[in-house]
Amino acid sequence: MTPSTSNVLIHDTETEEPTRRAFVLSPAWKVSLGVTALAIAALALIYLVGDRADSLVTQAIVTGLLLGGVYALASLGLTLIFGVLGIVNFAQGAMLSMSMFIVYFMVSTFGMNTYLAVIVTVPIMFGFGWLFQSTLMNRLSGDSGHERPLLVTLGLSLLIINTLLMIFGGRPLSVDAPIEGSLRILGAIADYPRMIAFGGAVIVAAALALILKKSPLGLAIRAVSENNEGASLVGINVRRIYALTFGLGSAAVAVAGGLLTPFTSLIPSVGDQYTTLAFVIVVLGGLGSIPGAVIGGLFIGLLQTVGSLYLPGSGSLLLVFVVFVLILFLRPQGLLGAKK
C-alpha cells in the first residue's frame, strides 16, 4: 500500500491544535461535506425535475439510506484492517457469511434470541480473526509485495464458503427477526430489522472510532499504522497489534453479519456480494477511514436505489462500478483519505 493511505486513521487528531480544531475543518471533512451537499442537491433535483412520483423517490431514498447503513456496517472491518495492516481482506464477505451462519446455528440449535446470538458471535469472530492473523498472516509481514496477503485471504474466503457448504448445504436458510413490523417515514416504509442494522452501523462506527482515539490499544494501533518500525522501537509488539486489529475488524464483521441475518436468506456465498460492494465503499471513502466507510456506504446505497429508478435491471450496480473506477483513477486515496 502507499504509505499515505495507512495513516488515515490518525490524520485528523494530530494535524491541528486542540484550540483551533473547533474552527478549522480538516480537508477530509471539507470533501465529505461537499459530497453530502452534492448528494442532497442531486436528490432535490430528482424531486423537482425527475419524472418519477415523489413517493417513489422518497421510498428509494429511505431504502437507499437503510441499505447504505448495512453496506457501511459490512465495510467497517475491511477499512480498519486495511488502514492498519495494509491488507485488502478478500475474505470479508466470507467472514460475513460465517458470522451469519454462527447466528443461525445458535438460533436454530439453542433457540437463542437472534440479537443475543449476535452478541455471542462477536467474541467468536474476534478470536477467529486474531487467530488467523497471528498464525498465518503474520508470517507474511515484512514482505513488500501485496499479492501474498491478498491470495491468503482469497484462500480463506474459498475455505470458509465451502466449509459452510459442507456443513449446512446449499439450501437457503432463514432466521426469524424477533422484532417484526415497519415504520412509516414521510410515506415511505422502513422495516425494523433494517433500521436496527442501520443503528448498529452507527454504533459500531462510533465504537471503533472511540477505541482508536481514546483507548491505549487504539493509541498503539494508531502508532503501528503510522510507522510500525518506530512503534516496535518504543516497545509495542507490532505482531500482537496486528492480530488484535484483525480481531477487531472481524468483530465488526460479526456485528454486520449478525444484524443482516434477520432479513437475508442464508446461503454460504451470501456474503460475496458484500465483498465487492465493501471494496467499492472503502475505496470511495478512503481506504482506512472509518467516517469514509460510513459516508461511502450511504452514498453507494443511495446511488443503487435512486439509480434503479432510472436504470433498468442491474444498470444501477454497473453505475456503482463506474463510480468506483472513476474514484480509483481520479482520487485513489478516496474522499476522506489523506492526500499524497
Binding site: 501474498r148 460475496d272 435491471g313 454497473l318 462500478f321 483513477f329 485513489p332
Partner: protein, 348 residues
C-alpha cells in the same frame, strides 16, 4: 537501448535467463512434454478425458495470467474479463454469422488484447499499483459480467448455445463426443502458447518487462519505455487468456455470463500459476497439473470414502476447500510455488 544490453553483459556475463541456450533447453523440454502428453488419451480411461481437457484450459489461462502478473508484475484480479471476451466472441460470431471457431478464436484474442490494453493503459496512466491495480481489474471484470447479463445481443443471463452439428467437422471444431481431438486441440494450443511465452520471456521486450517489474524507476532511467513494454505484455497475456475462453466455449458448446466473466474464472486463472510458481515458464503448468485433477481425485475419494471421511459423503464443497487449504499453505510456506521451490532446491 543497446546501452542496457552491454551494461547487463558487463555485470552478469552468464545471466541464465537471458542466454540463448536457456531458451533452447526450454523449447526442448516443451517438445518432450508435448510428445509424452500426446499419448495420454490412449492410457487414460474415457471418463478422465474431460478432466484432462479442463486441466489444459486451466493451464492456458494460467500461462496467460502468469505473463502479465508473474513476469509483468501487474497483479490481475480480473482475467475473467479477457477470458470472457474470447468465449463470447466465438459464440457470437458462430451463432450469428456461422464463422468458424478457428477464425473467431483469433478475432477474440485480438479483441481481448485490445480490451486489455485499454484497461491496463487507464490503470497505469493513473498510476494504480499493487492492490489498487488488482481492485481495478476486478472491477472491470465485474462490469463486464453485469454488461453481459444485461446485453440483449448476448442473450442476457441465458447465455449462448453453440448448435450441435450432425456430423464431425474440422472447420467447426466439432467431433464425436469422446474424440481425442478434443484433447489434442487444447494440447496443441497450450504448446503454442508456452512456446510463445518462452520466446517472449527470453526476448528483448520480455527482458525489459522483467526489469520493469523488478524496478520500474530504474528501468525508466535506463531509457526503457515502461508503458510500452507493459502494454505489450498485457496484450499478449490477454490474447492467450482469450484463447482459453474461446476453446472453453467450443468444448462445452455453451457460454453464459457466469461461465465467462464470473469471479471464479479470475480465480481459476491465477491459482495454478500461484501454486505452481509465478514468473516461471513451467510453474503454471505444474500448478494446473496439480489443481486440475484435484476435484476429480477428491470426488473419487468421496465415492468410496475411507471410514474417517464417511460423514462427508454426498457433501459438496470439499474439493474447493482442499483447493483453498493448498493455496493458503503454498502461499504462506512456499512463496515461490511448487516449481519455484523445487527449482531452487535443485540449483543448490
Amino acid at each position: 537501448m543497446t546501452k542496457v544490453d552491454t551494461s547487463r553483459r558487463a555485470v552478469a556475463p552468464r545471466a541464465p535467463r537471458t542466454s540463448q541456450s536457456g531458451a533452447r533447453r526450454q523449447y526442448m523440454y516443451l517438445t518432450i512434454g508435448l510428445a509424452v502428453f500426446f499419448f495420454l488419451p490412449f492410457v487414460l480411461p474415457e471418463s478422465a478425458q474431460p478432466v484432462a481437457v479442463r486441466t489444459l484450459i486451466f493451464a492456458i489461462m494460467a500461462v496467460g495470467w502468469n505473463l502479465m502478473s508473474g513476469y509483468g508484475g501487474m497483479f490481475s484480479f480480473g482475467h475473467a474479463a479477457f477470458f470472457g471476451v474470447g468465449a463470447y466472441t466465438v459464440a457470437f460470431l458462430l451463432t450469428e454469422y456461422g464463422i468458424s471457431p478457428w477464425i473467431s478464436m483469433i478475432v477474440g484474442a485480438i479483441l481481448s488484447a485490445g480490451v486489455g490494453v485499454l484497461i491496463a493503459y487507464m490503470c497505469l496512466r493513473y498510476k494504480l499499483a499493487g492492490s489498487y491495480f488488482a481492485l481495478a481489474t476486478f472491477a472491470f471484470a465485474q462490469m463486464f459480467l453485469l454488461i453481459a447479463q444485461g446485453a440483449e445481443f448476448l442473450n442476457k443471463t441465458e447465455g449462448i448455445n453453440i448448435p450441435l452439428l450432425p456430423q464431425e467437422s474440422w472447420v467447426m471444431m466439432q467431433f464425436d463426443q469422446n474424440s481425442y481431438y478434443y484433447y489434442w486441440i487444447p494440447l496443441g494450443l497450450l504448446a503454442i502458447v508456452v512456446a510463445v511465452s518462452i520466446y517472449y520471456v527470453n526476448s528483448r521486450a520480455g527482458q525489459f518487462t522483467q526489469a520493469i517489474r523488478d524496478d520500474a524507476i530504474a528501468a525508466e532511467s535506463l531509457g526503457i519505455n515502461v508503458m510500452r513494454y507493459r502494454l505489450i505484455t498485457v496484450a499478449l497475456s490477454c490474447a492467450i487468456t482469450a484463447i482459453a475462453g474461446a476453446y472453453y466455449t467450443q468444448y462445452y458448446l455453451f457460454v453464459g455470463p457466469e461461465q465467462a466473466f464470473g469471479l471464479h474464472v479470475s480465480i481459476d486463472a491465477l491459482i495454478p500459476a500461484v501454486i505452481g510458481g509465478m514468473g516461471t515458464i513451467w510453474g503454471p503448468l505444474v500448478g494446473a497439473a496439480v489443481m486440475g485433477p484435484l476435484s476429480e481425485v477428491i470426488a473419487g475419494l468421496l465415492r468410496n470414502p475411507p471410514p474417517f471421511l464417511e460423514f462427508l459423503q454426498g457433501r459438496s464443497g470439499l474439493d474447493v476447500a482442499v483447493y483453498a487449504v493448498l493455496l493458503i499453505a503454498i502461499v504462506v510456506f512456499m512463496p515461490k510455488g511448487i516449481f519455484g521451490t523445487i527449482r531452487d532446491r535443485w540449483r543448490k
